[in-house]
């Protein structure tokens, strides 16, 4: 039961891409995260489950460097990411996120400019990274939208005219346009129709299989996590109660809360 990944005996010498240690954060006197640690290896998908208010989205926002926790460290094993990323200033965070971290939010309004064109939303990422050739912007935006299985004849329509599922595809295209090292997904399919949800999940799964993108996906929906995740972390009240291989957590949950969660959804 000592599932501690950081000190487990190791066979293969791979470094985790992402290592977060003892991340804690409070909003006023309300603790949102308590000593949360996680590591994600290259090509792996980590799923974080838990009910509303468990701190999973806060943790994801910390990983996206939108929030700075009160304590803890966060490193990415990348040549342009030195030291504890929580110590970076606003400018360095923006540059790192633009190049290396993509995010898809539950609410498309957080991730998209609703009245600009969809292709422009994707192109903005490339513009921030310094691309200054219009033809290249068009080509790369088109390629990213195509990879997200977005209908290309609508690539210049603004997201406000699109359905929820299509908006999520635009967000996804924007997130993968620069081939980031890390893709963060915050309830990417919540609020979509079940059939649309399945299609978006299918796209994510295919992208993961084809490109081996390292992902962290947060959802209260165990079906989503079961479909995508290699490993699962169960959170409750800002703490990690259990973590392990996805099939193990779903088939043999150890903690009372995980059992309750898994059995409730089976």
């Amino acid at each position: 039961m000592s599932q501690t990944q950081l000190d487990a005996p190791r066979l293969v010498r791979t470094q985790p891409l992402l290592t977060a240690r003892n991340v804690s954060k409070s909003y006023g006197s309300v603790p949102a995260l308590r000593n949360v640690s996680a590591s994600v290896f290259p090509g792996e998908v980590l799923g974080i489950v838990g009910e509303s208010g468990s701190g999973k989205s806060t943790f994801l926002r910390c990983l996206n460097l939108e929030e700075t926790p009160d304590a803890g460290s966060y490193t990415l094993d990348l040549p342009d990411a030195d030291g504890n990323l929580f110590d970076l200033d606003r400018y360095a965070r923006r540059m790192l996120c633009a190049r290396q971290i993509g995010i898809v939010y539950q609410n498309p309004h957080l991730g998209l400019l609703m009245k600009h064109s969809s292709s422009g939303n994707v192109a903005e990422r490339l513009l921030v990274a310094g691309e200054r050739r219009f033809a290249v912007l068009r080509d790369k935006a088109r390629a990213a939208l195509e990879a997200s299985e977005f209908p290309l004849e609508r690539m210049d329509a603004p997201p406000i005219e699109l359905s929820g599922g299509m908006q999520q595809r635009v967000q996804l295209a924007k997130a993968i346009a620069l081939e980031p090292a890390l893709l963060l997904l915050d309830e990417p399919t919540t609020g979509l129709d079940v059939s649309v949800q399945a299609l978006v999940l299918d796209t994510l799964k295919r992208l993961q299989q084809e490109r081996r993108i390292t992902m962290v996906i947060v959802s209260h929906d165990l079906g989503v996590i079961r479909t995508l995740a290699d490993r699962v972390m169960v959170m409750r009240r800002g703490e990690v109660v259990e973590a392990g291989l996805a099939d193990q957590v779903f088939q043999d949950p150890q903690h009372a809360y995980s059992q309750q969660l898994v059995h409730a959804k089976l």
Binding site: Q3, S37, D230, M233, Q248, A256
Partner: protein, 247 residues
């Protein structure tokens, strides 16, 4: 013969927090397995045969004991190994064969079967050729090869699954009733393939509803039926909060 698996005093039980009870699945199991050996797990229903297989695969967490696996990278205790290593070994050295296919939408049968070879670094065209060979061998109709298995009947899905699971020779193969509900010709193909892999040195542990199917392959048997029926349940402490969890 080289040692593949050294299981020592392995025990597994399930704690059911909502009932406040604990159920023992198996207790103090020890055995060794050499390369090319076939081990049959026996025992009455509920004796923990499938549970043992899943514990070896780390789908279940052992309560105590050791599973020393001699991988090509060295020895490792699967009970305590890091998740990333288990994932790695599952992809390269340890196979688990069930009767159920985990199909993925919009991936054709032949691509699904060829995938393990491609991941192991084989050229796509070559992998696809071999995938077609095994689909043929297991009797999947030719016009189904480029189709999506999500829509196949249970029997056809099972054949695709076997082709995929057995295409890449593994160091250790765990077989969880792969012959159940399989037609005679596919069963014959399966047994041929297992014999073939065995002669190449793959160690196997199997659970079979009708062990007669694989009688010719069996080297040893382990009976998991407990000597005496132990106390099935025992009360446990309510308070099981963990503070040491780190992913």
């Amino acid at each position: 013969m080289s040692l593949i698996l050294d299981v020592r005093a392995l025990s597994k039980g399930f704690t059911m927090h909502h009932l406040g009870t604990r159920v023992d699945a198996f207790h103090d199991v020890s055995f060794v397995l050499q390369a090319g050996e076939f081990l049959l797990l026996k025992g009455r229903n509920g004796a923990g045969k499938s549970t043992l297989l899943r514990t070896l695969y780390r789908s279940y967490l052992a309560a105590s004991g050791q599973i020393l696996f001699h991988s090509s990278h060295g020895e490792i205790d699967l009970v305590r190994a890091a998740d990333v290593d288990v994932t790695f070994l599952r992809r390269t050295e340890i196979g688990f064969v069930t009767q159920f296919l985990v199909a993925r939408p919009r991936v054709s049968a032949e691509a699904l079967v060829a995938e393990p070879l491609q991941r192991a670094g084989r050229a796509p065209a070559e992998a696809l050729d071999e995938a077609r060979h095994w689909l043929q061998a297991f009797g999947v109709k030719r016009d189904l090869w480029p189709a999506y298995p999500t829509t196949f009947s249970g029997g056809e899905q099972q054949k695709v699954n076997l082709a995929r699971a057995l295409i890449l020779p593994q160091r250790l193969l765990l077989l969880d009733e792969p012959t159940a509900s399989l037609d005679a010709s596919a069963r014959a193909a399966l047994i041929d393939r297992l014999a073939d892999l065995k002669s190449q040195g793959t160690a196997m542990i199997g659970v079979f509803h009708h062990p007669g199917d694989v009688a010719a392959l069996i080297d040893r048997e382990i009976d998991l039926t407990p000597d005496q029926i132990p106390e099935q349940t025992q009360n446990m402490a309510e308070d099981m909060e963990r503070t040491d969890v780190v992913v």
